[in-house]
């Protein structure tokens, strides 16, 4: 038997190319004959464009064209699409591809310059003079909420949307609860910050009237649809290809970016290829950010810490526009549930405009804020009652017998927020064993005796993954026996080609080396949604599994016919169809592919076997009714419910008594994403997610000043973790609770590592320091100042209960580690 590859840590098929410089990222695609675009971007956060003078710029040698809003026509001149409308989004606003009259954030494109060379395009862009009337900017959530200044004159109070969801009567439950707390949490902005920025290359073939666009995107079909609409072209005349993409993390699911409209538009207009590659400063000031929220939590609970009622009010900063709708705050407001089942819940979010870069999903997409709100609240409940922090969480867990667990809330896809599976008590038991939670008091005491401050934190999350509507997979067996697979969503380093090849290899019994997977190319798969919400493995993985299953059935049928035996007696092993128990009766899969396509004309030795004079009954239809030629199939996998992965993290930190630096001593992860297709890849996803979670908790912030200028728009000043800032080791234990919502039983894994970061590190730092931490991320200097304020009596002390002090949780009685 061929070894089953599903579940094996198979080395990635992508890598030999990528490690040897043979990757093909956007700026590597053949751009012969291309001219290059550069943009004049607004230096002001809020201003009226009074005039644009291009006289000096147009004389720069090598300039091909300079374009402003007035040059745009038709749909290209209309506002950019509102991608995800929502009934509660009362005042949606989207920008224009090039600013029309007003600019609403620093970095908004105002003028496009096209020249023979990017250097020259930038020379000319520098010489464009834009006359601005500077208007008062709105920066920060508090200022937006005050509503004294407006981002959009016709949006009262800067409020894009107010949205409420609830189950039960939370206010009444809180009023009747034995204990209540009022809590305030503050979480700041960060951003996806992939190592490769965005970029677009467009080629217009005037003869064929065909547009080919390469974009560094997480959705080639989405970009294709948007370009076709904006340029007034039939969708069938536009191909969009996502080549190798150098990281996405959410920012590249937003589309169409102004440049994704403008570059193809000008390529058609000029009749020659046009390229734009985003530079790092452009990425900081004109791509998306995420995270910023102010959270107010009112919670009522019983003596065991069980939440009886929970009311949450979120102020969400959506930046200057709302092209991605309300997805981020909707996710926060639902995923606050985490693994818990409060008695009653009411959440209201207010989505506010500010004169800053737009806010669209960044890895986690509202979930880090959700975990922050509920996990910090769990810590406070434990501290209030003098209970162990894990015990309070356990008291609130959804239990195994509760699944499927429907909260009565509406999820980001408009469908019920209903968990499929999980085993939260088992996950917590694993985590406590992994980090040795119950012995930590001793570790802390010993450290304190040495004058050191250490603390432990814990945070849980549930991650809705594998969201619909659908994805497809196309599987073709060539006459050579090689298998070509296409999925429609694009890939940014998650190893989609490898996991899809693993799934197909198992189904078709062909070696991995004979399978090639194409992603994100509308020429190969025209129907797709995109890569976001940790959905690729769930959606595309199952789709290619179904397509390969169909191909397998067809192969067995055709081979059964040719070998004159029952398809049920056949098996597919190592590229050969053979009779079970009698391998001498066999046929290469490539030969089956030949037979699947009855021919009149032979084009090589193999195809001679399929021509008309080579056999078959004279009265049979060459292609049976309902059948199709070729050994290939497309299948689509659609879902009516997301699948919900979960995880629990623990961290041990040490804070420097003098410098207030935070050092991570241990980082432990228990992760349940259902069945693992490739554990090596899943662990890689966790590693990267944890690094981004740590970055978001300790280092990364978007430092806007009161004028809406981003002060740290470079890698010198925006502190992304280097190797020296991540934990030395990330200790991982898996639980595999299969999803009940797809044939492969898998759940998404892409975002998990990032989600609990801020909640977790706040919990641990608070434990080390003994006073309340309510604002994240936290820098050493901020922690230093908090210490001073705590010493001055301005910040309350908090104390976490030692687990061993609680009789019910003695080490001898705890649940032991599971396998």
């Amino acid at each position: 038997m061929t070894t089953r590859l599903f579940g094996e840590p198979v080395q990635r098929v992508e890598d030999p190319r990528l490690v040897s410089g043979r990757g093909r990222y956007l700026d590597d695609v053949d751009d012969t004959g291309a001219v290059h675009a550069a943009f004049v971007r607004s230096p002001h956060a809020h201003a009226r464009v009074r005039g644009i003078d291009v006289a000096e710029a147009i004389d720069v040698d090598g300039v091909v064209g300079i374009y402003t809003y007035d040059d745009l026509e038709g749909a290209a001149a209309e506002p950019l699409p509102l991608l995800i409308p929502h009934p509660d989004l009362a005042h949606p606003r989207t920008g224009y591809a090039l600013a029309r009259d007003l600019v609403h954030h620093v970095g908004e494109p105002v003028v496009m310059v096209v020249a023979t060379d990017r250097y020259v395009a930038e020379d000319a862009a520098e010489r464009v003079v834009v006359d601005y009337e500077v208007l008062p900017p709105v920066v920060g959530i508090e200022q937006a909420a005050r509503g004294e200044r407006l981002v959009h004159a016709d949006v009262p109070g800067n409020v894009a949307a107010v949205s409420t969801q609830s189950f039960g009567d939370a206010a009444a439950a809180i009023a009747a609860a034995p204990h209540t707390l009022d809590l305030h949490w503050d979480i700041e902005r960060s951003a996806s910050m992939p190592m490769e920025g965005k970029g677009v290359l467009a080629r217009w073939d005037a003869g064929e009237r065909r547009l080919t666009v390469f974009s560094s995107t997480q959705t080639s079909t989405g970009v294709r649809g948007a370009i076709a609409a904006k340029l007034g072209l039939p969708v069938t005349s536009v191909d969009v290809i996502a080549p190798d993409v150098g990281g996405g993390f959410g920012v590249k699911i937003m589309h169409p970016w102004p440049e994704e409209v403008l570059v193809p538009w000008v390529a058609v207009r000029l009749g020659r290829p046009v390229k734009w590659v985003e530079d790092r400063r452009e990425h900081f000031i004109s791509s998306a950010h995420e995270r910023g929220q102010l959270q107010t939590v009112k919670v009522g609970f019983d003596d065991a810490g069980r939440i009886l009622g929970l009311e949450v009010d979120l102020l969400h900063d959506n930046g200057a526009y709302t092209p991605y709708g309300l997805i981020v705050p909707i996710i926060t407001s639902t995923q606050i549930m985490g693994p818990y089942k409060p008695g009653a819940y009411r959440v209201t979010f207010t989505s506010l405009y500010t004169n800053t870069v737009i806010v669209t999903p960044y890895r986690g997409a509202g979930r880090p804020q959700a975990a922050y709100a509920i996990e910090r609240t769990m810590d406070r409940i434990a501290q209030h009652l003098g209970l162990d922090r894990t015990a309070v969480r356990e008291a609130n867990f959804v239990q195994v017998e509760d699944f499927p667990y429907d909260y009565g809330l509406t999820w980001q896809d408009g469908r019920p927020y209903e968990y499929d599976s999980g085993d939260f008590p088992a996950s917590m038991a694993k985590l406590k064993a992994l980090v040795d939670w119950d012995s930590f008091e001793q570790v802390r005491d010993e450290a304190r005796a040495q004058g050191r401050r250490v603390g432990i934190g814990v945070a849980c999350y549930v991650e809705g993954t594998g969201i619909g509507p659908y994805e497809g997979g196309h599987v073709t067996v060539e006459t050579s026996g090689k298998v070509k697979v296409a999925i429609g969503l694009s890939t940014q380093g998650q190893g989609h080609q490898t996991i899809c090849a693993q799934i197909v290899a198992d189904e078709l019994g062909v070696p991995l080396a004979d399978i090639e997977v194409t992603t994100g190319d509308t020429r190969r798969m025209g129907y797709a949604v995109g890569t976001f919400a940790s959905r690729a493995a769930v959606m595309s993985g199952n789709a290619v599994g179904l397509a390969a299953r169909t191909v397998r059935e067809k192969a067995l049928r055709i081979a059964g016919n040719a070998l004159e035996c029952d398809p049920g007696d056949l098996e597919l092993v190592n590229g050969v169809v053979r009779v079970k128990g009698d391998p001498s009766v066999s046929m290469a899969l490539g030969t089956v592919a030949v037979l699947a396509n009855p021919l009149r004309y032979a084009f090589d030795e193999a195809s001679k076997a399929a021509t008309q004079f080579t056999g078959g009954h004279v009265d049979d239809l060459p292609i049976a009714a309902g059948d199709e030629p070729g050994l290939e199939a497309s299948e689509f996998f659609a879902v009516s419910r997301s699948t919900f992965a979960n995880g629990m993290h623990a961290v041990v930190v040490e804070t420097d008594p003098e410098t207030a630096e935070v050092k991570i001593l241990r980082y432990c992860v228990v992760h349940d994403c259902g069945r693992l297709v490739n554990p090596m890849i899943v662990e890689g996803q966790i590693h990267g997610g944890v690094a981004q979670g740590v970055g978001g908790a300790l280092y990364e912030i978007m430092a806007y000043d009161e004028n809406g200028q981003l002060l740290n728009a470079s890698f010198m000043d925006f502190l992304m973790p280097y190797v020296t800032e991540v934990p030395d080791t990330i200790e991982i234990d898996h639980l595999e609770t299969p999803s009940t919502r797809n044939p492969l039983g898998i759940k998404g894994a892409g975002e998990a590592g990032t989600i609990p970061g801020s909640a977790l590190l706040a919990s641990a730092i608070e434990d080390a320091e003994g006073f309340a931490i309510t604002r994240m991320p936290i820098s050493p200097s901020e922690l230093f100042h908090l210490r001073q304020r705590h010493a001055a009596g301005e910040i309350p002390a908090v104390a976490n209960q030692a687990p061993a002090a609680k009789p019910m949780r003695k080490r001898t009685t705890r649940k032991g580690p599971t396998s």
């Binding site: 990528l18 040897s20 990222y25 700026d27 890689g684 590693h687 990267g688 890698f715 990330i730």
Partner: protein
């Protein structure tokens, strides 16, 4: 503003003499990528922080986005493409990154591979701490560095076991 003056540059890239005519301000990274067609060298920040564009100049790692192409005239440059073995198979550092899942999107990888190569040529038996130090000037947004550190240590093993040059 008129056309820029061009300068002749000749440099040995991956063992082959290459020439180009370039403006004085053209970055070495752009010369390699766009004039010489070696797109394996990637540009992540254009201000010398991320290290994706690292190449070896006369054997020493440099940021090709912080150097002008004309400054490389007469020098030897090794890019990630030049680190495969003579038969085209993966070099030891490249092989280690594949074995250890030391990359995800792969965009920063050429800079790590060149940096690690230069490091291992100086220190063939590094400790973990030394390996961490060696790559501590390169940014990766995907991997959390765990497997990159493993890759560097694994590369040292391959170099040792096979008696090859990194």
């Amino acid at each position: 503003m008129t056309a820029e003056e061009l300068h002749d540059v000749s440099l040995v890239v991956n063992g082959v003499l290459r020439t180009a005519q370039v403006p004085a301000r053209r970055l070495l990274s752009d010369v390699l990528r766009h004039d010489l067609g070696l797109t394996g060298t990637h540009v992540g920040c254009e201000h010398g922080v991320c290290g994706a564009c690292t190449v070896l100049l006369d054997g020493r790692p440099v940021r090709s986005c912080l150097m002008l192409g004309v400054s490389a005239d007469g020098h030897e440059v090794t890019t990630v493409e030049g680190l495969t073995r003579p038969d085209g198979s993966l070099g030891p550092v490249q092989q280690a990154f594949v074995e250890c899942h030391g990359l995800q999107c792969g965009f920063c990888t050429p800079g790590f591979v060149t940096t690690a190569t230069a490091f291992l040529r100086e220190n063939a038996q590094p400790t973990r701490d030394e390996a961490v130090q060696a790559i501590s000037g390169n940014l990766c947004r995907c991997t959390g560095y765990q497997n990159i550190v493993r890759s560097v240590l694994r590369a040292a093993e391959i170099v040792r076991d096979q008696g090859v040059q990194p």
